[in-house]
């Protein structure tokens, strides 16, 4: 049996009292050893900040384990649930405090954060990934990064940019235009819409 999916619709401008939750950007509490600040700006095709985007991040822990513990909304201040949800502010900026993910056993991909982008004016969310520059070898072997032209792969790389109570990484998202972020079709298979394909299924 194959059921037809429910179509996507935009998150709209008024999700503020429905989706964000307290501590949504704190995958780990302030002061956690090894915590990083991942931050950036979401911009549209004109280069203007997008003040009403919502980002979600999903990731493994530093040990490469994918969290299987509940509590992704009700933070208990101890458990690493691997999930973050942050709205952009008036300047289009977001901040997530988390730990860098470690390699997942059996995964051909280099350590990365899975990202979903929602916004007014986006009728269907966008998937992308955040990779980290310190995994030089794993990044070189990553099926997605290695299949992309260098300039496009660079849009998926967090850039070290100082100290924010921990190492800071900048990850900007450009929805459209010069430096447009690479967005992914993970569901697969619309040749008409898709310009590039990465081979080598991971499962």
């Amino acid at each position: 049996m194959t059921l037809d999916p429910s179509p996507s619709q935009t998150v709209g401008p008024f999700f503020a009292f429905g989706l964000p939750f307290d501590g949504g950007g704190d995958v780990v509490p302030p002061g956690t050893a090894g915590a990083i600040s991942l931050h950036g700006t979401v911009r549209d095709g004109a280069g203007s900040p997008v003040p009403d985007a919502l980002l979600e991040f999903w990731q493994a822990g530093p040990d490469g384990r994918i969290p299987v513990r509940a509590g992704s909304l009700a933070r208990d201040g101890r458990s690493f649930t691997g999930f973050a949800r942050v709205p952009t502010d008036r300047a289009g900026d977001y901040v997530v405090r988390t730990l860098r993910p470690g390699p997942i056993t059996g995964s051909p991909e280099a350590p990365h954060l899975a990202v979903t982008v929602f916004a007014r004016g986006l009728l269907h969310h966008l998937f992308t990934r955040v990779y980290f520059p310190n995994h030089t070898e794993a990044n070189a072997a990553d099926p997605l990064l290695s299949a992309l032209p260098e300039t496009r792969a660079a849009t998926l790389m967090a850039v070290p940019d100082g100290w924010f109570g921990g190492p800071g990484y900048r990850f900007d998202i450009r929805l459209q235009g010069p430096g447009e972020t690479v967005f992914l079709d993970l569901v697969g298979g619309d040749a008409a819409e898709s310009g590039a394909t990465v081979d080598g299924a991971s499962s």
Binding site: D4, S6, F14, S107, E109, L123, F183
Partner: protein, 255 residues
Amino acid sequence: MSPAAPERRRTEQDEVTDAIREASAVDPQRGGHPDRAFAPYRSTSLRAPSQPLVVAPPSLLELTAPVFGAKDVRPSDADLTLHSTGEPLGERIVVTGRVLDRDGRPVRNQLVEVWQANASGRYAHDGDRHPAPLDPHFTGGGRCLTDDDGRYRFVTIKPGAYPWRNHHNAWRPAHIHFSLFGTAFTQRLVTQMYFPGDQLFALDPIFSSVTDEKAQQRLVARYDHDTTVAEWALGYQWDIVLDGPGATPPDPDEV
């Protein structure tokens, strides 16, 4: 003999409605999902990517999803009429249905979130400038977990239609926003549920961004008298099917 009716001036809504009709004549959309660039919905023009998406197999990570449990959601979160000291105004309704993957399997114990305007078509949001009354007893946000059958159930107030600034005299049909997680990150879905028989469907560029009529119907709840609670609330059924690989991935801790 009656005099000829004065010629009706062509409106901005007419232009939009025509553009919607034109867009609907093009190729069917995969899975019924809207194209991100849909000109009649004007905000898409600077926000839809101009490059094609890159097709990539999901990573092991992307075949798993965040986990939510009883401590993330209170039972009262599912009754939007109980979030204040008094009862909200409007038509009380029950909205329920099942969350399924494309193979028809229920998505169990997963988070469903909703948000909506009040009965007057006004959101409890600073950015909503519609001069309709706020309801001190209605915020319009709710959450629940699906049960073992994949079923969710909310009690709420039927939201009103409201104007927006896409074009002159633009109105959104009444809708409830839904946010859904599956067993895999790839199944993530944010969408809107509409009510049957709304006269605004064909005029609305967001509803109509789904161009296939059958896919449009999958966004519309069904009135269900068996769900209606006597002397209390009208009932609507709306099942949701998540797209994308839904296969149960290997337990990541066992890999």
